[in-house]
Symmetry: C2
Subunit: 294 residues, 2 copies
C-alpha cells in the first residue's frame, strides 16, 4: 500500500473516531443505550466509506472540516446496518471483528434501539452542522436517505435474505451488492465530490468510479471468505458457504472471481481518469480495496 | 366532538393515506418489503400527529400543500416505531388495532427492515419535496431527527423497557411519556406552526401546547386501559397491569388520573391563548384527545 494512503487512512480513522464519539456524547442519551451505540462505533472497522468521502472531497480541493459531518453520518448509517444485520432474526451473527455482536453484548431490544438511534442521528449530524449550506444539507440528507433506505441498502439486505439457499445468477448477485454495500459507497464518493465542488459531469464519473469500488469491495470480501485467515477477517473462513450464500468464487471459480476483480479495478481507474481529477488517494484506494486482507 | 374537527379529521386522514401510499409506490422497493411497509401504513390509526401538524399549519394561515410532506413524514416515523416496539425482543405484541402485528403477519426480519425503511423514507419525503425551501427542509429534518432519535422517541422506548416491573414516581412516568410519545407530538405542532409562519414567541407557546397535548394523550391512554372496551381500543383491557407497566391510574387512582387529565387540558388551552392564534381546530383537538375512546 502506498504510504500516502496509509497515513491518510490512519490519520482520518482516528479523527473520525474522535468526531463520532464527540457527537454521541453531545447528545442526551439514556446510559445503556449510549453504551450500546458506543460499543459498536468503537468496534472499529475500516472506515472505508467516510475515508472515501474525505478523499473525494480533497480530490476536488474541498476543505476537510466541511466533509467531516457527512463522513461521520455515513459511518453511523453503516454501523447501524451492521447492528441490525447481525440480529438473530436477520443474519444471526454472534461475532463481528472478533468481538461479540451488539445484541450478544447487550440484548436484542437494546441492539434494535441502538441501530434506530444511530440511523436517526446520522440525519441530525448532517443538518445541525455549521460548515455546510442549507442547499448542501438538503442534498446530503436526500441522497443519504435514498442510498440507505428501502430503495437502497435496506432493499439489499432484504434481497440478500430472500436469496439465501438459492443459486443466483451473476446479475442477481450484483443486484444485491449494488444495493447492500454499493449504495453507501456510492453516496460517500458522490457526497465528498459534491461538497468539494465537482461539476455535474465530474460527479457522474465519480459515481461510476464508486460503483466499481463497491463491486470490487464485495468480490474481495467473497474471495477472502475462501482464502483469508480467520484471525485477520474477524469471522470464520468459509462462513458464506456454510450460510448458503451465493458468492463470486462460487459462481465464477476463484480464478474467475479474481479476474472479475481486476476488471472492476480497471474500470474504476478509467472512470477516475474521465473525471479529470488528479488524486493519488482515490487511485490508491482502488488497490487498497482490491488487495485488502480483512 | 365538534363537527368542524370531525370532518377535518376525516378529510385529512384519507388525504394523508393517499399521499403516503403514493410516496411509497413511487419508490423502487422489493415486493415483500413494500407489502410489509404498506401493511402497517394501512393498519390505520388515528393519524393524530399529522393531523395536528396540518391543523397547526392552518392555524397560522399556511398553505396545506406545504405541510403534507412533513405530515406524512411524522406518521411514517410513528408507524416505524410501532413496528419495532411490537417486536418479540421489545414489547412482544401480537395484535395491534385488532390485526396481527407486522412481524406476525410477515416475519421478524421483514418487520425490522420495514421499520428501518419507513424511518429512512421519512427524511427522504421531507427533503425531496418541491413546496418547501431548503431552510425549511433543514429545520424539519433537524427537528424530526432530534425528536425521534436516541434523545427523543428512541430514548423513551429504552426508558420504558428499563422501567418495566418497577414502580415509578409520577416524575419518572412523565419523563418516559415526554420522550416516547411527547417528542413526536411536539415536533408535529412546532413543524406545522413553523411552516405556517408562526413567529418565535408563537412557536414557543405552541410547543407548550403540544407538551400538554402529549401528556393528555398518554393519561387518556392509561385511563382507557382501565375503563375502555377491548373492541374499541384494539388491545386487551388491562394489558398495562398484566405487563407490569406503571400508569397514571396506578399512581394516582382513576379519579386522580382524570383530575390530572383535566389540568393538562386546561394548560394546553392557556398555551393556545398565549400563542395569540384563533384556531377552533387546535382547541377542539384538546377535547378530542381528552375524550377519545380508542
Amino acid at each position: 500500500m502506498n504510504q500516502t494512503l496509509g497515513s491518510f487512512l490512519e490519520d482520518k480513522r482516528s479523527m473520525l473516531n474522535q468526531q463520532m464519539e464527540q457527537q454521541i456524547y453531545s447528545m442526551q442519551i439514556p446510559e445503556t443505550l449510549r453504551e450500546s451505540i458506543m460499543y459498536s462505533i468503537e468496534a472499529g472497522g475500516k472506515r472505508i466509506r467516510p475515508v472515501l468521502l474525505l478523499a473525494a472531497n480533497e480530490a476536488f480541493g474541498g476543505e476537510e472540516n466541511r466533509a467531516i459531518a457527512p463522513a461521520c453520518a455515513v459511518e453511523m448509517v453503516h454501523t447501524y446496518s451492521l447492528i441490525h444485520d447481525d440480529l438473530p432474526a436477520m443474519d444471526d451473527d454472534d461475532v463481528r471483528r472478533g468481538k461479540p455482536t451488539n445484541h450478544v453484548q447487550f440484548d436484542e431490544a437494546t441492539a434494535i434501539l441502538a441501530g434506530d438511534g444511530l440511523l436517526t442521528a446520522a440525519f441530525h449530524v448532517v443538518t445541525s452542522n455549521d460548515h455546510l449550506s442549507d442547499r448542501e444539507k438538503v442534498f446530503l440528507t436526500r441522497e443519504l436517505s435514498k442510498a440507505s433506505g428501502a430503495e437502497g441498502m435496506v432493499a439489499g439486505q432484504m434481497l440478500d435474505m430472500e436469496a439465501e439457499g438459492q443459486t443466483l445468477t451473476l446479475e442477481g448477485l450484483e443486484a444485491i451488492h449494488r444495493h447492500k454495500t454499493g449504495e453507501l459507497i456510492r453516496f460517500s464518493a458522490v457526497a465528498g465530490a459534491f461538497i468539494g465542488g465537482a461539476n455535474p459531469s465530474q460527479l457522474h464519473h465519480i459515481e461510476t468510479y464508486s460503483k466499481y469500488i463497491g463491486l470490487l469491495f464485495q468480490v474481495q470480501d467473497d474471495i477472502l471468505d475462501v482464502v483469508g485467515e480467520e484471525g485477520e477477517i474477524g469471522k470464520p473462513v468459509g462462513s458464506d458457504v456454510s450460510n448458503n450464500k451465493s458468492t463470486y468464487p462460487q459462481l465464477l471459480g476463484l480464478e474467475g472471481a479474481i479476474e472479475h476483480k481486476n476488471q472492476y479495478a480497471e474500470r474504476a481507474r478509467m472512470a477516475l481518469k474521465e473525471a479529470g481529477v488528479e488524486s493519488t488517494l482515490l487511485e490508491d484506494l482502488i488497490d487498497f480495496i482490491s488487495d485488502r486482507k480483512n
